[in-house]
């Protein structure tokens, strides 16, 4: 062993860790809610009859999915500033994460839409429901139900990916870790603690989504079929 481990020295800084974890969770929560809305709209847009809307949604989804989040964050952060628009690091981080996860949500939701059997839509058409009513009553919730595991995994990944927000001065968990380890010079201990915290955060998120699933899908709850 060329290195002595000293966890207490690092654990002393628990209020900082806690604040970082809280900010990570906050970033993830905002981006999840906004990204889910945004992505669902983009998914609907990709199926739009207007080739302009469908094309724009496709370009958005493909551009985001094929470039790293870090690059996107830098482009948003420095791009906005170059335009003379100044927002807090938190706002920019949430915006960039939303744009990012929105693209993935759009792809997942589209798969969900496509997984709705044709017969369901025909049955609804046969009942004289309008296009909008069909989307709202027949497609949306069952589609979400079908892709719920994929969606929740994507949002947990988003939470983990938010670690790159440290680069634009958002003091989330990884930023705190960098700060603490350059302060205490206990890098190894710091990162082990942070890894544990991330695992806990992802478990917390999964538990949260499980609970949300119970609320969203009353049938699953009543029939006891797990997601």
């Amino acid at each position: 062993m060329s290195l002595q481990l000293d966890f207490p020295a690092v654990l002393e800084r628990w209020p900082n860790f806690l604040a970082g974890a809280a900010l990570t969770l906050e970033l993830a929560a905002f981006a999840t809610v906004l990204g889910a809305l945004f992505g669902t709209l983009a998914a609907v847009g990709r199926g739009a009859r207007s080739p302009l809307i469908a094309g724009a949604c496709k370009v958005y989804v493909e551009t985001i999915r094929n470039t790293p989040l870090l690059v996107q964050i830098f482009l948003v952060y420095f791009g906005l500033a170059s335009l003379g628009l100044k927002f807090s690091a938190f706002t920019v981080a949430v915006a960039a994460l939303t744009i990012n996860v929105g693209a993935y949500t759009a792809e997942i939701m589209r798969a969900g839409f496509e997984a709705i059997p044709r017969g369901q839509i025909e049955a609804a058409e046969g009942l004289a429901l309008s296009r909008l009513q069909i989307y709202w009553h027949i497609i949306l919730l069952p589609a979400i139900e079908k892709v719920y595991p994929a969606l929740t995994s994507q949002f947990v990944l988003l939470m983990l990916a938010s670690s790159v927000c440290s680069q634009i001065s958002a003091e989330e968990l990884t930023a705190v870790a960098n700060y603490i380890q350059s302060d205490t010079y206990r890098a190894f201990e710091t990162y082990i603690i942070v890894a544990v915290l991330y695992v806990i955060l992802s478990l917390v998120m999964r538990a949260g989504f499980w609970g949300l699933g119970l609320v969203l899908f009353p049938r699953r709850r009543r029939l006891g079929t797990p997601l």
Binding site: L3, S166, S182, D183, T184
Partner: protein, 240 residues
């Protein structure tokens, strides 16, 4: 491996942990070769000792872990001497100094600490400037921490922050990058000694490094390097 110095001599190679993303101490020239004051100091050292030189690329945050875990032999990377750091690694004598200031946009009205209230100050995370500002709890400062100097300077150049805490050299650099955003030093922060860092308990290597620094301060070579990149000379008390 009884002794790091023996290891180095035997390998005929010295591995130096240097951040090449913190101009003007470490950076890339237009043909993308490492250059900067720390880079030249490292090159001088290797040449004097007749060793092959290997740069271990690092960021501000990984400078110290690199020597602690034996991935590099020594650090030459604007490492300022602080009591906290001295608990973990050993420092040689200083080979240069670093004047740190709070610099602001030329057009801003900031004169002293109270004017900084609610103005985000850009700083490189985990640097001595960061620690110094973070300890001024009474002053109600708003600190924006970036992962390295480059990102911080980019933030200043692009307009995300109007104040930065950094070395005087870097503060002056900002205006060069973007003439419409010239920064100047407004509030002096501290002067730090920069030293070479190495793992604790390597006394023989430490002695040899100290001797080398003493000699090169005396013959003016270190001063020449400093002046070349920072535009000013080392402080008088160091040159005499």
């Amino acid at each position: 491996s009884a002794d790091l110095l023996d290891d180095i001599t035997q390998a005929k190679k010295i591995r130096i942990s240097t951040d090449v993303a913190i101009p003007p101490s470490g950076m890339m020239d237009s043909s993308m070769k490492p250059t900067g004051s720390d880079v030249e100091v490292a090159q001088l050292l290797a040449k004097d000792w007749g060793l092959e030189l290997e740069f271990i690329q690092t960021t501000g945050a990984t400078r110290i872990p690199n020597v602690l875990t034996g991935k590099a032999d020594i650090i030459i990377s604007t490492l300022s001497v602080t009591p906290d750091r001295a608990k973990v690694i050993d420092f040689t004598k200083r080979y240069a100094t670093l004047q740190s200031d709070v610099g602001c946009l030329k057009s801003s009205t900031v004169k002293d600490w109270p004017d900084l209230k609610d103005k985000p100050i850009g700083v490189s995370r985990g640097t001595t400037q960061d620690t110094t500002l973070s300890n001024m709890k009474d002053k109600d400062l708003k600190i924006s921490r970036y992962d390295d100097d480059a990102t911080m300077v980019t933030a200043a150049v692009s307009g995300q922050v109007d104040c930065v805490a950094s070395s005087a050299t870097i503060i002056n650099q900002i205006g060069v990058k973007n003439p419409s955003r010239v920064f100047e030093s407004r509030i002096p922060l501290a002067t730090f000694d920069l030293a070479i860092g190495l793992k604790k308990g390597e006394q023989r290597l430490m002695d040899k490094l100290n001797a080398w620094i003493t000699e090169n301060v005396k013959n003016g070579k270190l001063n020449a390097i400093y002046k070349k990149f920072h535009g000013v000379e080392l402080p008088p008390d160091m040159r005499s």
